[in-house]
Symmetry: C2
Subunit: 350 residues, 2 copies
């Protein structure tokens, strides 16, 4: 159906090679020939075959972004940033969702089966750990996003979870809250996010000379609204409920918020809330959500840049780039001003 170079060449009465030269705007084509070929191209509605080009050139111009869940706003917002950054460099991003399924993650990232279509991968693992990733079959470059799961071996962008969690918790302590709880702890070995944030939470309590009360640290299976709502209900059922909660992401916080409000309690008067991720939902909830705001644009920019360097043959040692973050103070811990901002960042070394 689609016209090929050969068909165009026949129609224009020239060789295939010359048509290719016209299509690629190579200079050494006589003006008259170029015009004739161009006419044939237009008449046949020629479109270059991307697959053949890729096979020939070894480059598809496609990079894949592999994420656990697209309907988690943080990932959706990150995706937007990655697409924008890649577009600058002339690359198209395609997104694939793994649901954290180890089988899917492995298929996409490890074997490079489908991956061979893509020049590179930006991968936010959920199930795959460092041990898995170290013996990848595929030679397609990968940049990892997320927690520090891997011991070297691959480029990696991560945020300082411990430091950020400590900052969030300290904020609640400085508000004078006495019983600061945490929602989102995780035991699962492959999911380090929860553990790291718990470390930061505990560090802040210790720094303030407080004890860590075990029943105030609630584990959740996932980081969704439903998990936050359920964990908050447990906290409220305690003999001594908390007066502040640090939720390990904004969805958990929104779920917790829903539970608190449905009990007739007030935020922040009765319970102050801090989230993590700074998704748009949290800016429009009532009350709006105080949260740790990772610099998503920076994360995307660094990830794309790191990947493009590899594609250009950069063979230097794998990089580990930390991303900046700030604490966005909004209504769920504050008065009513929505623009407050505390610095808790770290410079990115490059």
């Amino acid at each position: 159906m689609a016209a090929t170079l050969r068909q165009v060449a026949e129609r224009a009465g020239v060789s295939v090679r010359t048509v290719s030269n016209v299509v690629n705007d190579f200079p050494q084509v006589a003006a008259e020939t170029r015009a004739r070929v161009q006419r044939a191209l237009d008449e046949l509605g020629y479109q270059p075959n991307a697959v053949a080009r890729t096979l020939r050139n070894g480059r598809s111009g496609l990079i894949a972004l592999v994420l656990p869940e697209l309907d988690v706003p943080y990932f959706a917002e990150l995706t937007r940033a990655v697409i924008e950054q890649a577009a600058v460099a002339g690359y198209t991003v395609v997104v694939d969702q793994t649901d954290g399924d180890p089988v899917r993650e492995r298929e996409l990232v490890m074997r490079g089966n489908r991956a061979a279509m893509f020049d590179g991968l930006i991968f936010n693992p959920l199930a795959l750990g460092g041990a898995d990733l170290r013996n990848r079959q595929s030679s397609t470059p990968v940049v990892l996003l997320g927690e520090r799961v891997v011991q070297g071996g691959l480029d990696h962008i991560m945020i300082d979870n411990v430091g950020a969690a400590e900052l969030a918790t300290r904020h609640l302590i400085e508000l004078g809250r006495q019983r600061v709880a945490a929602i989102g702890d995780q035991f699962d070995e492959t999911r380090q996010t929860g553990q790291l944030r718990t470390q930061g939470y505990q560090a802040a309590l210790h720094a303030a000379g407080r004890e860590v009360v075990p029943e105030l640290v609630r584990p959740t299976e996932f980081f969704h609204r439903a998990d936050g709502a359920a964990a908050m209900a447990e906290l409220l059922a305690l003999p001594e409920p908390p007066d502040a909660v640090f939720c390990y992401n904004d969805l958990l916080a929104l779920g917790a918020l829903r539970t608190i409000l449905s009990r007739g309690l007030r935020v922040p008067e009765d319970i102050a809330l801090v989230g993590f991720d700074d998704i748009e939902d949290g800016r429009y909830s009532t009350p709006s959500l105080t949260t740790i705001s990772p610099d998503k644009t920076q994360i995307a920019k660094n990830a794309v840049q790191l990947l493009l360097n590899r594609l250009d043959g950069d063979r230097s040692a794998p990089a580990e780039l930390p991303a900046d973050y700030t604490l966005q103070i909004r209504e769920s811990t504050g008065s009513g001003q929505t623009s407050g901002q505390a610095r808790g960042s770290r410079r990115v070394a490059r």
Copy 2:
């Protein structure tokens, strides 16, 4: 870097073709040969080159889902459904975001430049209208999602916007509300969603013997939270503010909700709210959101099925499939029960 059939063949001392036969599990290979080849495959870590296969077979196993915005929850949730449906048929979905940019939409859908990598496209247009779409260059099959923008020519899954909007508005009228407003009207010729929903809104008012009050119908540029918040502020500034609002999607409703609550007004006591899309955010807001719930799974299933039929050579006339929808009654218009459900659906013929 990656091993090829030829390298494996040399190592195993057989022809390239035989290796291919082993890789593809063709029966007519002697057991002893198969074992030897398999060993060579393993030793070299052979992975088939997807690009070469695609060129040869004319099938990539990839379908593209082209959407305006991934960080709009409705699209994110729809994407999940499409990915699941396509996986059943052994297809991998890659997602591309256009931001409603006509240039990007055209590049992806019309010319098939990049598109040639994909066996088919599921496309939710924002900027491109019927006139554009009719003279596509590419022969890659497309299924359209969304409003009825096109007059024939392409397969299309849409929901009955007029009927759904009428149902939503009627619900508010039946609650006894006197001044029912609407947020999300649009004038732009390429964005029909707003206009169709306004038609349904007006139809419901007329059916109830009410007048349409022009200043109660607020246009918005986009369908984001910020637009809803701003439009609601305008409505509240009217001499006679509304006591009910039908928002043309849930994000608008969540923005409006934020404005209402920040003014100290109550939902639903002072103002009842209905949204559209049934995104997860609306189920966890306080109050939770009454909304029109399109059957996203059904939309995804039909879209994928329609596309797969085309890939299998189905040459029948383009189909227009309506999708089911229901009214989910929640707290923003109701008492407190969250499970109410009114039927307003249409059977899908297939």
